[in-house]
């Protein structure tokens, strides 16, 4: 499969478990993630590489995240900023937006909330990502623009809306596991209607379509008790 360009996220969060959670959730969604604990480490990362989005904790041991948000928002081509904090009063939230935050998330947050907010910001950003329109699988080609598969012999295999969304999401995750819940949310445009069986049925159909020669090589692998990933 061709490698998809990455949407890069810098996580600046001093609490080890929350940093690990953000890093793991975002990486398994296929984002490029760099995670640091201190503001100065964040600055160093920013000086070395290009980031599309910064997930910024407000209360850092060496400085206030507001400071960095103000510095970044004054520059041109600044990354999107998603602030996260346990501070939840109106003034704090407003000062976050005034400093240049594009969104504000209060702790504790639901894992799905983080992914939803990041997805929204990623869609809104003028991304450095150029989606690869065609992706080669061993036995067929996925054409994102035409929303179909093409066999090696050139035959077209149509995908339903649900099949397209599931396959697209698995490709975006770049080999990382995607939960059934996340796939269901994609299929139902965030409504999570239906149940996980719907996802399982779509996966089963996709497996057949991705392997029209019936070689029985599984391109979509089950992750027990969780979801699916591409091999």
């Amino acid at each position: 499969m061709e490698k998809k360009p990455i949407f890069n996220i810098l996580v600046i969060e001093d609490e080890d478990a929350t940093r690990f959670l953000c890093e793991t959730l975002l990486a398994q969604e296929g984002y490029g993630v760099t995670a640091v604990s201190f503001l100065e480490q964040g600055r160093e990362q920013l000086s070395q590489g290009k980031f599309d989005l910064i997930l910024l904790d407000l209360n850092l041991p060496d400085a206030d995240g507001i400071q960095l948000a103000m510095e970044l928002s004054s520059g041109s081509d600044s990354p999107q900023i998603l602030m996260m904090t346990a501070r939840n009063n109106v003034e704090d939230r407003w000062s976050g937006f005034e400093a240049g935050a594009h969104d504000y998330m209060v702790k504790p947050f639901h894992p799905g909330e983080l992914l939803h907010r990041v997805r929204n910001l990623a869609d809104r950003a003028s991304p450095h990502v150029v989606d690869t329109p065609k992706i080669q699988f061993p036995y067929c080609l996925f054409d994102r623009d035409k929303r179909c598969l093409e066999t090696l012999g050139g035959d077209r295999i149509d995908l339903t809306q649900g099949e397209f969304k599931v396959l697209n999401r698995l490709i975006s995750a770049d080999g990382h596991p995607v939960s059934r819940e996340a796939l269901l949310a994609d299929i139902t445009d965030g409504e999570r209607e239906g149940n996980w069986r719907t996802v399982d049925v779509l996966i089963s159909r996709l497996r057949r379509k991705l392997d029209p020669e019936e070689t029985k090589e599984k391109l979509i692998l089950s992750v027990q008790g969780f979801g699916y990933r591409l091999s």
């Binding site: 478990a17 702790k107 504790p108 894992p111 939960s179 969780f226």
Partner: protein, 116 residues
Amino acid sequence: MGNIDTMRLDYSVRHQLALHLPADALAELLRRQIISLKKTMVELETAVQGNESEHVVACAHHLAGAAAMAGFGCLAAAARRLDKPGELTISDSSMDLELLRNEWMATRSAAEQSIE
């Protein structure tokens, strides 16, 4: 899990995490949550001994956020009672500190049992 103090562990939080994380990542997260809280409790006790009220507030703020993320609601509530920037005096907070210590002991025990 018969003896686990479920009042102190919000299993809906654990359930949501389980929906989004593979089992090994979830286990690692729980391990890190406990270690991180332990470390902050030690830091808070040192700050109490040194009568550094602002440092106590910073630790309590940290604890409240981390405990809430882990679904340890009672511990988060106890920590929030000490998260009073510019207002906290250690000598007047002995009851809140005691409550926090008790909640920490109970939560840690329940959390450690839940991942065994």
